[in-house]
C-alpha cells in the first residue's frame, strides 16, 4: 500500500501534469486538453478517495523524501517531510473534489488559452495539497508562496473571447491586490516561522523545522505570544479576518467562475488549517491567551460582514461576503479550544467549501446566460430555468443552515463547542452573539434568491436555455455531498475523534 498510495503521487502528479501542459510538445487542441485535464482531475479524486478509504487515524501516512541521503537543507534541519493525518486527509479529499468540479465547470467559462489555464489549475492544486500535507514549517511556507503564481494568473487572466463588459476591467488589479495582501501576510508568517525555528533550537536544543519536533517548551512566554501574533497575521490575511479582508471580494468577483469556486472553497481554508497546525497545535499557551481576541474578531467577521453582505447588489459579491462571514464561524470554532469546537470547525470547512462552490457555480451560470450580476436587473430566472431554480433554492436553504444539510450541523456544533469553552467568558459571549448569523444569512441569501429568480422576466431573455449536463453534474454532486454530510456528519467528525 505504501507505494501505491503515497503522498508524492498525490502532490507531484498534478505538478508534473502542469509542466506537461505548459510544454510546447503537448497538443493545443482545445477539446483534447480539456478532456485530458478533466480525466486527470477525476483520477486524482478517485485516488484521494482510495487514500481516505485506507486511512486509519492511528496510522497516518508519512513520507520523507531523501535527496541523495540528505535532508533538504541540513544546516537548518529542514526536511522534505509529508504527513497526512485525519484533518489533512479530509482537506485533501475536499481539495480534490472541488478541483474536479471546477474543471468540469470550466467548459463554458474558459474560452481561451486552455493549456495555460489547466496548467495553472494543476499547479494551484499541487500547491494547496502541499500546504495540507507538509510536515515541515518551511515546506509549508514554500507551498504557501508557490500558490501565489497560479492564483495570480487564474484571477487576473483573460480567459474569455467575448467582451466581458465592465467586470473584466479590474481583474488584473484585483489579482495584484490579492498577491500583495497574501505576500505581506506570508512575510509576517515567515517572521513567525523563523523566530519559532530559532527559539525552538535555542530553548529545546533540536535543530529541526518539522511540526512534531517543535514544542513551546521553555520558550519565554512573551516571545511565544509574539510569534503567535505574527503567524496569526499571516493566516488572517488568507482566512480572512476583518481588517485584512479587502482583497477577497474583489478577487472572488473578478475571477472566472471555476476559480471563484476554488478560491472560496479551498484557498480560504488554508488559513484556518494554518491556524490549526501552527497556533492550535504547536503554541497552545499563546493560543489560549489570544483566544478571546480571536473570538471577538470572529464575531466581528460574522456580524459585520453579514450586514455588509446585505447591502451588496452584485450576486458574486454577496456570496464572497457570505464566505467571509462563514470563515468567522470557523475561526470561532478554533478559538473555542475544545474538541467539539475543533471538529465543528473542520466540519464547517467542508460544508462551507461545498456550499460556496455551489453558490459560485449558480452565480456563474446566471452570469453566463444573462451577462449581468446585479440583483436589481435580474428577475424571473425561475420561469426559464426551473431546474437551476430548484438547485439554487436547495443550496441557498442549505447555506442558511436548514437542517438536513451539512452547514446546519457545522453552525450548531460550532456554537455548542464555543459555549462549552472554559477559557473565557468572552468566547461564550461571542458564541451567543453569533447566533443572529442564522437570521442575517437568511436575510441576504433569500434576498438573492427572491430578487433574481422570481418576478417578471425581461423579454430578451425568453430564449435562455436551462442548465446543461455539465452544470447539472456539478450542482448535483455538490448537493449530494451536502445531503450526505448533513445526514451522516459522523463521517467527518468520527474521523477526527
Amino acid at each position: 500500500m505504501d507505494i501505491l498510495l503515497s503522498i508524492p503521487i498525490l502532490i507531484f502528479v498534478p505538478m508534473l501534469v502542469s509542466v506537461l501542459l505548459l510544454s510546447p510538445f503537448f497538443t493545443s487542441n482545445e477539446v483534447l486538453v480539456r478532456r485530458f485535464a478533466k480525466s486527470v482531475f477525476v483520477f486524482h479524486f478517485l485516488y484521494s478517495l482510495c487514500m481516505l478509504l485506507f486511512f486509519s487515524p492511528s496510522n497516518p501516512y508519512i513520507c520523507k523524501i531523501d535527496l541523495f541521503g540528505m535532508d533538504w537543507i541540513q544546516s537548518l534541519g529542514i526536511k522534505l517531510l509529508f504527513k497526512i493525518d485525519a484533518i489533512s486527509i479530509i482537506m485533501c479529499v475536499l481539495t480534490s473534489f472541488i478541483f474536479m468540479l471546477a474543471s468540469i465547470s470550466s467548459k463554458f467559462n474558459i474560452r481561451k488559452n486552455h493549456k495555460f489555464y489547466y496548467s495553472m489549475l494543476f499547479l494551484l492544486m499541487s500547491a494547496i495539497l502541499g500546504i495540507f500535507t507538509s510536515g515541515d514549517m518551511f515546506l509549508f511556507f514554500l507551498f504557501w508562496e508557490l500558490e501565489m503564481i497560479p492564483a495570480y494568473f487564474l484571477i487576473g487572466g483573460k480567459w474569455r473571447t467575448d467582451d466581458n463588459g465592465i467586470y473584466d476591467v479590474d481583474a488584473k488589479k484585483s489579482a495584484m491586490k490579492f498577491i500583495l495582501f497574501t505576500f505581506l501576510g506570508s512575510m509576517f508568517m515567515l517572521l513567525g516561522i523563523l523566530l519559532l525555528h530559532y527559539y525552538n533550537y535555542a530553548e529545546n536544543g533540536i535543530l529541526s523545522a518539522t511540526f512534531s519536533d517543535i514544542s513551546e517548551g521553555t520558550i519565554p512566554k512573551g516571545i511565544q505570544v509574539l510569534i503567535a501574533v505574527f503567524l496569526l497575521m499571516g493566516f488572517g490575511v488568507k482566512l480572512p479576518v476583518i481588517p485584512l479582508h479587502s482583497w477577497l471580494p474583489d478577487a472572488h468577483t473578478n475571477a472566472p467562475t471555476p476559480v471563484s469556486m476554488v478560491l472560496a472553497g479551498i484557498l480560504l481554508k488554508t488559513g484556518a488549517y494554518g491556524i490549526f497546525r501552527f497556533n492550535y497545535e504547536m503554541l497552545p499557551y499563546s493560543f489560549r491567551v489570544l483566544a478571546p481576541i480571536l473570538a471577538i474578531l470572529a464575531l466581528i467577521n460574522i456580524i459585520y460582514t453579514a450586514f455588509v453582505c446585505y447591502a451588496q447588489t452584485d450576486i458574486k459579491r454577496i456570496v464572497a461576503y457570505s464566505s467571509i462571514s462563514n470563515m468567522g464561524l470557523i475561526l470561532l470554532g478554533l478559538a473555542a479550544n475544545t474538541k467539539t469546537g475543533l471538529s465543528a470547525s473542520v466540519f464547517h470547512m467542508v460544508a462551507h467549501g461545498l456550499v460556496t462552490a455551489g453558490l459560485f457555480m449558480i452565480c456563474g451560470i446566471v452570469y453566463l446566460r444573462f451577462k449581468d450580476r446585479d440583483i436589481n436587473n435580474l428577475s424571473g430566472i425561475a420561469t426559464v430555468m426551473p431546474r437551476l431554480f430548484g438547485f439554487a433554492s436547495i443550496i441557498v436553504l442549505a447555506s442558511i443552515g436548514v437542517p438536513l444539510f451539512a452547514p446546519f450541523i457545522g453552525e450548531i456544533l460550532t456554537i455548542i463547542g464555543a459555549m462549552q469553552s472554559e477559557l473565557s467568558v468572552v468566547i461564550k459571549f461571542a458564541a451567543l452573539f453569533s447566533l443572529p448569523l442564522l437570521i442575517l444569512s437568511s436575510c441576504y441569501m433569500l434576498k438573492f434568491l427572491h430578487k433574481s429568480f422570481t418576478g417578471d422576466l425581461k423579454e430578451e431573455y425568453v430564449k435562455v436555455n436551462d442548465i446543461s449536463m455539465h452544470e447539472f453534474t456539478v450542482l448535483a454532486s455538490i448537493l449530494a455531498g451536502l445531503v450526505i454530510f448533513g445526514l451522516y456528519p459522523n463521517a467527518i467528525i468520527g474521523l477526527i475523534g
Binding site: P24, L67, I73, L76, F138, L146, F153, M187, L191, L194
Partner: protein
C-alpha cells in the same frame, strides 16, 4: 617572492599576461579581426581558473611579506569572480560588434577589472586593497563609458566622482587605524586590537572604512550613483557591474568585519541602520519608476543592503548565508541582464516596451521570468532559498534585530510589486501579434540565459550541496 608567485599568485599572473597580450594585439591587429578578442579573454579566464588549482589554501598562506593571502575563502571568491567574468564575456557579443576598433582594449580592460576583483579578495593589507580597488575602479569607468552616446559618459563621470569621494573616506579611516595600531596589515591590526583596549577613534575608523568600501555596493550615503549609472550603462556591462564588484567587495568586507574591524560593536548597528535606510530608499524609489534598468538598479541596491545587514551581524553562520546569497544573486542577475541584452539594449527601456513579447519568444521570456521570480524570492527558485537562509541568519542574531527583520520583510513585499511590474507586461494580451518582435539571440547569449535560469531552478530544488560548501568555506576563514 618567486615562491609566493608560484604558490598563490599564478591565476592573477596568468590573467595579467593575457591582458598584456590583448593590449599588444590591439596595436597590430586590424579592427576586422575583432572576433578573436573575445576568444582570447575566454582562454585567459579558463587558464586562470585552471591555475586556481595550484593555489595553496591549507594552511593559510601569506605572500609578498603579508600583503596578499590565500585560503579556501579567497579561492572560492576568485573562482566566482572568474566564472561571472566568463558569463559576462559571453554576453558582450553585441557590444563588441559595435566597438570593433576598440574590441581588444575593451577585453583588456574587462580582464583588468577581473584581476582587480581577484586582488581585492586576496588582499591582506590596506595598501594592496587600495591599489586593487583602484585597479578595478579605473577599468570600470572605461567599461561604463564604452557604449556610444552621451548617457554612458555621464554615467561614467558620476561613477568616478562617487568613487573618488568614497576612496577618500576609506583612506581617512585607514589613516586613523594606522594611527592607532601602527600597521596597515590586517593580521597585525587584528593582533593589536585583540590585545589592547580600543577607543572611539577606532570605531570612527571602522565606520569610515566600511562606508568607503560599501559605496561600490550602493549602500546609503553613497547610493545615489546607482540610478544614473544603470540608466546610462550598456546591459552587458551592467551584468558585470552588478556582480563582480559586488562579489569582490563583499568578499573583502566580510573578512574585514571579522578580523581587523571585529572589535567594534557600534559598527554592527551602524551597518544595520545604513542598510535598512538603503533598503527603504531603494524599494520606495522603484515603485513609481517605469524604466526597467532603474528598477533593476534599485533592486541591486536593495539586495546588497540585505546581504550587508547580514554580514554586519558577525558570525560564521551569517557569513555562510551571505556567500550563498551572493552566489544565487549573481546567477540571477547575469541572466536578467543577458535577457535585456538579447532584447536589444537602449538607454530607456520602459516597462511597457516589453508588452506581449512572451507570445513570440516563449523560451527566452520563460527563462527571464524565472530569474525575475527568483529575485522576488518566490519558491522553486534559488531566490526563495537564499532569502529564507539569509533571514534565518538575522533572526538568529538576537531579539534586538527583529524590528530590522520585520522592516526588511515588509520591504520585500514592495519589491515584489516592482518585480511584477517589470515581469507582467511580458504576458499581456496583444491585439496584433504579427507586429511583436522576434528575438534572434546569438548562441552565446542564449547559452548564458538558459544556463543561469537552469542553475537558479536547480539550486531552488536541491540547495543542499551549495549550502554545505558555503558553510565549509565560512568555517575555514
Amino acid at each position: 617572492m618567486i615562491n609566493d608567485i608560484f604558490n598563490i599568485l599564478l591565476p592573477q599572473f596568468v590573467l595579467g599576461a593575457l591582458i598584456l597580450l590583448l593590449l599588444i594585439l590591439s596595436m597590430f591587429l586590424s579592427p576586422r579581426q575583432y572576433r578573436y578578442a573575445r576568444l582570447i579573454s575566454i582562454i585567459g579566464i579558463f587558464s586562470s581558473i585552471l591555475m586556481l588549482t595550484t593555489v595553496q589554501t591549507e594552511p593559510q598562506y601569506f605572500g609578498l611579506r603579508g600583503a596578499v593571502m590565500s585560503d579556501s575563502y579567497t579561492l572560492l571568491f576568485e573562482f566566482l569572480i572568474l566564472m561571472c567574468g566568463f558569463f559576462v564575456i559571453l554576453v558582450t557579443k553585441n557590444l563588441v560588434k559595435t566597438i570593433k576598433r576598440n574590441a581588444y582594449s575593451f577585453q583588456a580592460l574587462f580582464l583588468t577589472a577581473l584581476l582587480g576583483g581577484m586582488c581585492i579578495v586576496s588582499a591582506n593589507d590596506f595598501l594592496t586593497l587600495l591599489v586593487s580597488l583602484e585597479l578595478m575602479g579605473f577599468s570600470t569607468y572605461f567599461l561604463i563609458s564604452v557604449s556610444k552616446g552621451y548617457h554612458s559618459k555621464e554615467a561614467a563621470f558620476k561613477y568616478i566622482i562617487t568613487s573618488a569621494l568614497s576612496t577618500g573616506v576609506f583612506l581617512f579611516g585607514v589613516s586613523y587605524l594606522y594611527g592607532i595600531t601602527g600597521s596597515i596589515n590586517f593580521s597585525d591590526i587584528y593582533e593589536y586590537i585583540t590585545n589592547n583596549e580600543t577607543s572611539v577613534i577606532y570605531t570612527i575608523a571602522c565606520v569610515m572604512i566600511v562606508l568607503g568600501l560599501a559605496s561600490k555596493l550602493a549602500v546609503f550615503p553613497f547610493a545615489n550613483w546607482i540610478v544614473d549609472v544603470y540608466k546610462g550603462c550598456e546591459s552587458s556591462v551592467l551584468a558585470f557591474l552588478s556582480t563582480i564588484p559586488k562579489l569582490a567587495l563583499f568578499g573583502i568586507i566580510c573578512r574585514l568585519i571579522v578580523f581587523p574591524l571585529g572589535n567594534s560593536f557600534e559598527l554592527t548597528f551602524v551597518i544595520a541602520i545604513l542598510s535598512l535606510v538603503t533598503a527603504l530608499w531603494a524599494n520606495t524609489y522603484a515603485i513609481r519608476e517605469k524604466n526597467v534598468k532603474v528598477i533593476l538598479a534599485c533592486s541591486a541596491s536593495a539586495n546588497a543592503s540585505y546581504a550587508f545587514l547580514t554580514a554586519g551581524l558577525v558570525s560564521v553562520y551569517n557569513l555562510s548565508t551571505v556567500i550563498f546569497y551572493l552566489i544565487c544573486y549573481a546567477v540571477m542577475n547575469i541572466s536578467v541582464f543577458a535577457f535585456l541584452n538579447i532584447y536589444g539594449d537602449k538607454n530607456s527601456m520602459y516597462v511597457n516596451d516589453f508588452k506581449g513579447i512572451f507570445h513570440k519568444n516563449r523560451g527566452l521570456c520563460g527563462a527571464y521570468a524565472i530569474s525575475i521570480i527568483a529575485l522576488a524570492g518566490i519558491p522553486i527558485t534559488s531566490g526563495f532559498i537564499a532569502k529564507i537562509y539569509l533571514f534565518t541568519a538575522i533572526a538568529n542574531s538576537g531579539l534586538i534585530f527583529i524590528p530590522f527583520l520585520l522592516m526588511l520583510l515588509v520591504l520585500t513585499v514592495v519589491a515584489l510589486f516592482y518585480y511584477l511590474k517589470i515581469l507582467l507586461p511580458l504576458f499581456d494580451e496583444c491585439d496584433n501579434k504579427e507586429l511583436l518582435p522576434v528575438m534572434k539571440p546569438a548562441f552565446s547569449q542564449k547559452f548564458v540565459l538558459y544556463i543561469c535560469a537552469a542553475i537558479t531552478v536547480i539550486i531552488g530544488i536541491y540547495p543542499e550541496i551549495l549550502i554545505e560548501l558555503c558553510r565549509l568555506i565560512a568555517y575555514s576563514i
